[in-house]
């Protein structure tokens, strides 16, 4: 029982990091970024590659460097995506916006294959070196605890940025009313890039944290994307609080689903999302 809850929390941590980026971009730009999963994959491959390069040194240093490299790379790619693809279509109808991020997804999947090749990349050294903790009478890997702590830290950092800093207040203003924000002289282009970079780097962080427990594969970003999607739908689009509650809910649902109804775990998640959408189309914490 405790194990299920812990696993749910651990799984929820990944969901939170992935959906955080998705929801920031959706909230600020009004764009559903289908290439978000590919940013996750990019982070995973970058981290696996870095950890592989630094295999001779201590694993903890390698992990920290890998996280930094992944976040930097995904932020840079996010910046390029925003400037080259998103900016020209921000005022175009929905179908173009969805399609261009779909195009970016296809493009990035193959670029990853081009750069890192098609094979799986293993980088489990940081996980193995951390050992196991004794938690509530359970043997629990320290690495999982580390992931949860880091996720909480990242979530808090994003919250501080959004709630307390000038840039965060301006971002929320853009999310509320883009035209009005522009009229007030808010540097909308620069902040859009910032939002995209922030969101992308969160996906990169999630990807990097995943790599020590499971190898980086092609198409690794697909499932996190769909899961983050469900979280955003449940929690409410563009809502930070929604991302927290949604991830916790989906994380637990998935953990218990895997434990008790492994056959129907995925369908149940989609069913929950659909039921919530029927009742509250804007999600639990979304604004109309």
């Amino acid at each position: 029982m405790v194990l299920y809850i812990l696993n749910g929390l651990y799984f929820g941590a990944f969901l939170f990091l992935t959906s955080l980026g998705l929801t920031i971009i959706l909230g600020v730009m009004g764009i559903l970024n289908l290439a978000h999963g590919s940013l996750f994959a990019l982070g995973a491959f970058m981290a696996a590659w870095t950890i592989g390069l630094l295999a001779t040194g201590p694993p903890s240093t390698a992990l920290i460097l890998a996280i930094i490299c992944s976040m930097a790379l995904t932020a840079a790619v996010g910046f390029l995506l925003e400037r080259s693809l998103i900016k020209p279509i921000i005022r175009r109808p929905l179908e173009y916006q969805l399609l261009i991020t779909f195009g970016a997804l296809l493009l990035m999947e193959d670029v990853i294959k081009l750069v890192w090749g098609g094979e799986a990349r293993y980088a489990s050294a940081p996980f193995d070196s951390m050992g196991r903790a004794n938690l509530l009478g359970l043997e629990y890997p320290w690495y999982f605890v580390f992931v949860m702590a880091l996720t909480a830290l990242a979530g808090a950092a994003v919250w501080v940025v959004m709630a307390r800093t000038r840039a965060g207040i301006m971002l929320r203003a853009i999310a509320m009313d883009r035209d009005m924000a522009e009229a007030m002289g808010i540097p909308i282009k620069r902040l859009s890039s910032l939002a995209f970079m922030l969101g992308a780097s969160m996906a990169g962080l999630a990807g990097a944290l995943m790599v020590p427990t499971s190898p980086a594969l092609l198409g690794i970003g697909m499932e996190p994307l769909i899961m983050a999607f469900i979280v955003v739908v449940i929690g409410g689009m563009g809502s930070l609080k929604g991302a927290v509650v949604g991830s916790l809910l989906v994380g637990q649902a998935r953990s218990f689903g895997v434990g008790f109804l492994p056959e129907l775990e995925m369908p149940i998640l989609f069913l929950i999302a659909v039921l919530i959408l029927i009742g509250r189309p804007q999600g639990m914490f979304g604004k109309g």
Partner: protein
């Protein structure tokens, strides 16, 4: 009487086009013909999809679910009721089964518009996908189901191999369905119903004020669109010989959106052109290079940025330019 003259010209072109398609098997190699059949199935799917996008103003990102419903209707009948495995049962079954699914899902979806509609259709199609994958003992899971050649009106194609079947009878059968679907859709979007859904698309509140039952009309459009997708899925299952859950995955639905945009969703013929071009483009990209997604992705981005009207839209612009340059020739 310029209007009548262009109308005659158009009819003539259409008749020529149909004759061209009928004669095609004599001209092109069988490998390309089978590919074209795949494209024709996607054309029916695209037509149905565009009824929602172009005429109702709703972007479905889950149309693969209804395509899969049609394809699986065929596969499941073959697996569980072989005595019913006859073409004259299978095609209606594909249409009815997907229409029922679309009626249920549509009931939920048409309450929403814009991005909510897209997300909801996507989530529902992934529900179908996940169910198909997980219920291994019922649906064959990710292995899918094999689809054999069914007898048609009592005539069994015993001992016939699939390519032979596809080159001969089936091509004309499929062509017949394409013509019927195109004609029906052409009439539908010009009927009072078609005008009503376009009114809903343009201004929902005004449409409601003049007495159009907005949600009910959207629901009917959704149902017809889903039935088209199911018909396409059923027809396609014989071409492919195998159905898998990937048909309900959102990536396939994304490809449907792409096909329609490639041809140009603002014109009636756009999805048909787009579906056929896409099928060839994808196959050549897949067989020509390991990095086919790169090619599809780049063309997709290029079309969105440079050619928002799609191929048909681009062609119209080119023709108009040519006309403007040579005014004496109209």
């Amino acid at each position: 009487m310029a209007g009548l003259a262009t109308k005659r010209k158009k009819t003539g072109a259409l008749v020529l086009l149909i004759i061209g398609f009928v004669l095609l098997p004599q001209v092109i190699p069988s490998y390309q013909l089978v590919l074209l059949e795949s494209g024709l199935c996607f054309a029916i799917l695209g037509l149905g999809f565009n009824l929602l996008l172009r005429y109702t103003g709703l972007l479905s990102f889950g149309h693969g679910a209804y395509f899969a419903a049609g394809a699986y209707a065929v596969g499941m009948i073959g697996r569980y009721a072989p005595e019913l495995y006859r073409m004259e049962v299978l095609i209606p079954a594909a249409i009815v089964f997907s229409a029922i699914l679309a009626a249920i899902f549509g009931f939920v979806c048409v309450r929403h518009t814009r991005i909510f509609f897209s997300i909801l259709t996507l989530a529902l199609s992934m529900l179908v996908f996940a169910t198909l994958v997980k219920l291994y003992y019922v649906t064959g899971g990710s292995d899918g189901i094999r689809v054999g050649i069914p007898p048609v009106l009592g005539h069994a194609f015993k001992g016939m191999r699939r390519p032979q079947f596809l080159e001969g009878f089936y091509y004309y059968f499929l062509l017949g369905w394409v013509i019927v679907s195109v004609a029906f859709m052409y009439l539908l979007v010009r009927s009072p119903f078609g005008k009503a859904i376009q009114a809903v698309r343009d201004n929902e509140i005004r449409a409601e004020m003049i007495g159009i039952r907005v949600k009910r009309f959207r629901w009917w459009a959704f149902l017809v669109s889903g039935a088209y997708a199911g018909l396409a899925g059923g027809l396609w299952s014989f071409v492919n010989g195998h159905v898998t859950p990937e048909l309900a995955h959102w990536v396939f639905s994304g490809e449907v959106v792409y096909m329609t945009l490639l041809g140009g969703f603002k014109s009636f013929a756009g999805p048909i052109v787009g579906a056929i071009v896409f099928t060839f483009l994808k196959l050549y990209a897949v067989s020509g290079t390991e990095y086919w997604m790169l090619i599809i992705g780049i063309t997709l981005i290029g079309i969105v940025l440079l050619l928002p009207g799609g191929l048909v839209g681009g062609l119209v612009i080119l023709l108009e330019r040519a006309k403007a340059r040579a005014p004496w020739r109209s």
